[in-house]
Amino acid sequence: MLECANVSIRYRVGDFKNIGLKEWVMRNLTGKYKVVDFWADREVSFAIEEGDMLGIIGTNGASKSTLLKAISGIMEPTRGRIVRRGKIAALLELASGFDGDLTVKENAYLRGAMLGYTREFMDETYPYIIEFSELKAFEDRPFKQLSSGMKSRLAFAIASLVKPEILILDEVLSVGDGAFRAKSEAKMREIIKGGATTILVSHSIAQVRAMCNKILWLDQGRQIVFTQDVEGACDCYEEYLRNREAGPVYDPVAAKARIEARAAEKARKLAAARKQVEDAKKAEKVREILRQSKAILTSAFTNNKEQTR
């Protein structure tokens, strides 16, 4: 279970990074020290339950990753609150956080420890991890000798096999070759069926359509829409992407209205279709009754004839 209520995050940018104490003092004295706060996420609200898979879409700079950092507890929301129930496994920028000098096995244990698991659990799960990531031959190699695809495979295997209750995937399912991707998507479905709450950030709309049952669309920190109508939202998003290439004409309120209108239209069509089917059924019933009564009448008629004869 995960719930975000009016979550706003203020991010700080400016030239304070990578400056030393001397430089900081000098800039403060000369008044050149500039720090700008800006809102990365504003008033984002959504709630998802066990078994849900939420897709987060949005263009670059939509503050998707910032939101994920707040959800996983690395950052704190400036305003609003986040309620989470269950163990979180966050896969943000996959291969980072591994240590290049340690071996694959040592890294697997370290990552497992970071995700909050016990040594016994890792002893038990490690063989599956190494088998799933297909890295048996590389077990004792230093991590830095692995290809980036292998690194991502290991990261995915660890996070998914340790049975998290909330799983956060940031551009993760697009790792590895086709075969591994199919395998990881299948694994994903298994986790969701097992009752995990999953969040998927992806630039692949096809993937979001195929896997998610709820969708959150962010644009420059604003929440455009949060809905169960994945198809409608994806349609609008793709339309927006096409239009954006043509020009900067874009209205998020209209997008939301379009999604709702489309959903309403769909519901109307569905109702109409249902009515048609029902009408057809009714007509069929009437015909059936007629046929039956006709049969009764005919049999009665013939009986009558025989009797008179």
Partner: protein, 259 residues
């Protein structure tokens, strides 16, 4: 709150063990001498200092080698601990900016590393004491006290420095100057006896010097220091540790912006 802290310590025990293991492997992986070198380096330092300073300061003093070793042992632990502690948080930036883990674990892990080194050097120190015909008494057990307070002090200073290092990357240059000053101001190779009372007072405010003096009093004079000394050591340790804890608590979610 207290119970929560203990629970989280237990929860993160596995991570802590893995971090200590990692630091250990990374430090000694590519060195042939490995741990031997870390023990050899204070001994070489001791040799150099003995050769250079014995003529000037050692003439009027008995057990000058032991006197020197007391100072070096303590100072080097302090210097090594604060130096590696300073880098521990920033060095793990890729971890704490992606995974939500308690940030003090990195510093604690670095300190475990340095403490093991210190313990080994301490054993050699005891052997030197025996060679130097220092009388071992039950009072040697009192040495546990300054070791504990200095450990706490080192962790505290390390916390403050590691937090500052995330914000200002030139802290390490400033700290190397400060460390050097501490070394010359801690009476490692000279004695403070001939200084004026005013200057002696300045020495009293130097935590490293106070720890060295405590150890020397036990080892060389064979007496237990006063209660005031005990309180002073504890005071230094607590002030440093609380300052560090405050920094970590206050800036916990703000480190992220600086890495």
């Amino acid at each position: 709150m207290q119970r929560k802290g203990i629970a989280s310590l237990l929860q993160y025990r596995f991570l802590f063990e893995e971090l200590v293991k990692r630091d250990f492997k990374k430090k000694y992986k590519r060195t042939i001498l490995g741990m031997g070198w870390s023990m050899l380096s204070p001994l070489l330092m001791l040799l150099v200092m003995k050769v250079v300073f014995e003529q000037f300061f050692g003439r009027t003093m008995n057990h000058y080698t032991t006197y020197l070793f007391c100072g070096l042992l303590t100072y080097q632990w302090f210097a090594e601990s604060t130096n590696s502690g300073m880098r521990s948080l920033f060095g793990n930036a890729t971890i704490f900016s992606k995974v939500n883990v308690p940030k003090y674990l990195f510093l604690f892990s670095a300190n475990v590393q340095v403490f093991i080194n210190f313990t080994l050097t301490f054993c050699i120190f005891l052997a030197f004491c025996a060679i130097d015909h220092v009388a071992f008494t039950w009072r040697f057990f009192c040495l546990i006290y300054p070791i504990l307070t200095l450990l706490l002090f080192n962790v505290g200073v390390g916390m403050v420095l590691s937090a500052l290092f995330v914000f200002f990357r030139d802290i390490d240059y400033l700290w190397s100057v400060a460390s050097l000053l501490t070394m010359y101001g801690s009476a490692i190779f000279y004695s403070t006896e001939r200084f004026s009372p005013k200057l002696q007072l300045i020495f009293a405010f130097n935590p490293v010097y106070r720890h060295i003096a405590y150890i020397r009093e036990i080892v060389l004079a064979g007496t237990v220091p006063s209660l005031a000394t005990h309180l002073a050591l504890l005071g230094f340790a607590l002030v440093a540790f609380l300052a560090g804890a405050f920094m970590y608590k206050h800036y916990n979610t703000k480190f992220l912006y600086y890495v």
